[in-house]
């Protein structure tokens, strides 16, 4: 059955970015419909059981899932309509969005659209990578932290970015044994504070190493790792076999650009931000004047940045719809400055450069 639905603002994706967008737009009086393909809102915040860093405005000291709960309460208090199990499957020529809702197809007509579709985890391939027991680090994190299910007992983590480091630590908290981490680069790529936690627990981190092969009949039984040279080619004679039942891949994320691309938003490539992403201006407007983008879709960073990009997109979209108050201009300026601050420091600077380039690309279109 196909039915129609109308709203002023449709937000696709109820993670931190989508929730931030919906909250700020609703606060200014916009009627907001927030949809998500999952059966719970909050996106990936619900598997983040660690405390966040930063300032009070950025929920420092609060655990990810608690931030998710607070945002959901706020959205519901502001009258945001949340529709779950609703998957945006396509954008039609008239600008409406086709949404699969159970066995029904709903056509949603919105004056403005905010895409907050997030990112997907990358994989690397090696002989045996399709065996049961090889999976993304995020899968293991979700299953352990949300569903109380350990996906393995003896684990090799691939990648030493923050995801690899944090998930290793969280799986140890839940009772798994992390045999070690391999990192193809010459140095650990995540924060020292996260690496310290697992190093102090005696977990080896092998830099300049990669997975050469996963072995096993019906699932992973062992893994062969080896050193790589400066060209990332395996060094003969350095192989080492470890007995593991699980290999987790924490090798980066890629923005989920399908809907943005279908909407006709111009894409750009920024490797540091995850690859292809819709270029946007400082206020998160894409190259289509009714489509805003935010969060990991607009460049993979972290939850606080996603939330503030969402807030900015929501405020800007509300203003474009004719809803603003005396504080709106100030609010946008604060959010833009806050985002700038979140991208300070050794780890943030590269992302800041990329973002400036994205905004420059937008102005050239």
């Amino acid at each position: 059955m196909i039915s129609m639905k109308q709203c002023e603002l449709l937000v696709v994706g109820a993670g931190p970015a989508g929730l931030g967008a919906a909250i700020e737009a609703a606060r200014l009086g916009v009627s907001v419909l927030l949809i998500d393909e999952n059966d719970t809102a909050g996106g990936q915040l619900f598997k983040q059981i660690h405390k966040f860093f930063g300032s009070k405005e950025h929920y420092a000291g609060t655990r990810g899932f608690q931030i998710g709960q607070a945002l959901l309460r706020e959205a519901s208090a502001l009258g945001v309509e949340v529709m779950l199990n609703a998957r945006a499957v396509g954008l039609l020529d008239d600008g409406s969005v086709a949404v699969q809702y159970g066995k029904d197809l709903i056509q949603i007509q919105a004056s403005k659209l905010i895409l907050a579709t997030g990112a997907k985890e990358n994989a690397i391939t090696f002989p045996g990578w399709t065996l049961p027991g090889v999976m993304t680090a995020g899968a293991a994190q979700t299953f352990s932290n949300v569903y109380d299910t350990l996906v393995g007992k003896n684990i090799l983590m691939v990648g030493s970015g923050n995801v690899g480091l944090i998930v290793s630590y969280q799986l140890m908290q839940a009772g798994a044994h992390i045999k070690g981490l391999v990192e193809v680069l010459p140095a650990i790529s995540g924060y020292g504070v996260h690496a310290g936690k697992i190093k102090r627990a005696g977990v080896p981190i092998w830099t300049k190493h990669t997975v050469l092969e996963a072995k096993g009949k019906r699932r992973v039984e062992e893994v062969v790792i080896g050193e790589v040279d400066d060209q990332r080619k395996p060094v003969y004679g350095t192989q080492k076999t470890l007995e593991v039942d699980t290999i987790l891949l924490a090798v980066g994320l890629t923005p989920r650009v399908e809907l943005a691309s279908m909407a006709g938003c111009r894409l750009g490539v920024e490797r540091i931000l995850g690859g292809h992403l819709p270029v946007h201006n400082q206020e998160m407007l894409s190259t289509k004047d009714s489509v805003y983008v935010c969060g990991d879709l607009a460049g993979v960073e972290e939850a606080n940045t996603a939330l503030d990009e969402g807030r900015l997109a929501g405020t800007a979209a509300a203003e474009a719809l004719g809803y603003s108050d005396a504080k709106t201009a100030d609010k946008k300026r604060c959010l833009v400055e806050g985002l700038h601050d979140l991208r300070m420091g050794t780890f943030g600077e590269k992302r800041l450069d990329c973002k400036s380039r994205v905004i420059e690309k937008w102005s050239c279109v």
Binding site: K120, V134, T136, G138, D148, T149, L150
Partner: protein
């Protein structure tokens, strides 16, 4: 791969146990958990075999994006077990290959 006890950070709420059938055998699982989680806890880690090479597959992305963990559930093939929650009486089967279209028509 088994239940964890006493998580140091998260308070997991115990849910009721319900019975499902997995490849013809009865299994008691926690209601409301994703099928994939219930099966992994019961030590079942192969969810399907591929069409061409008959290679085993299991959980991969855990959030319904990759379609690697699909099984036949209540006669419907290609059900994503990582985002489909267990309900009492569900009939869950290891999927062989792509699943049959006829299965869908019968159920619908």
């Amino acid at each position: 791969m088994g239940n964890k006890k006493e998580h140091p950070i998260v308070d997991f709420v115990e849910t009721e146990l319900v019975q499902v059938t997995v490849d013809g055998k009865p299994l008691w699982v926690s209601e409301g958990k994703p099928i994939a989680a219930a099966l992994l806890q019961a030590g079942i880690d192969v969810f399907r075999f591929t069409e061409k090479r008959k290679a085993p597959r299991s959980l991969f992305c855990g959030i319904g994006q990759c379609n690697d963990c699909v099984m036949v559930v209540d006669g419907i093939p290609n059900v994503r077990t990582c985002v489909t929650r267990v309900q009492a009486g569900m009939v869950i089967e290891t999927q062989m290959g792509l699943g049959k279209l006829g299965d869908i028509n019968e159920t619908m």
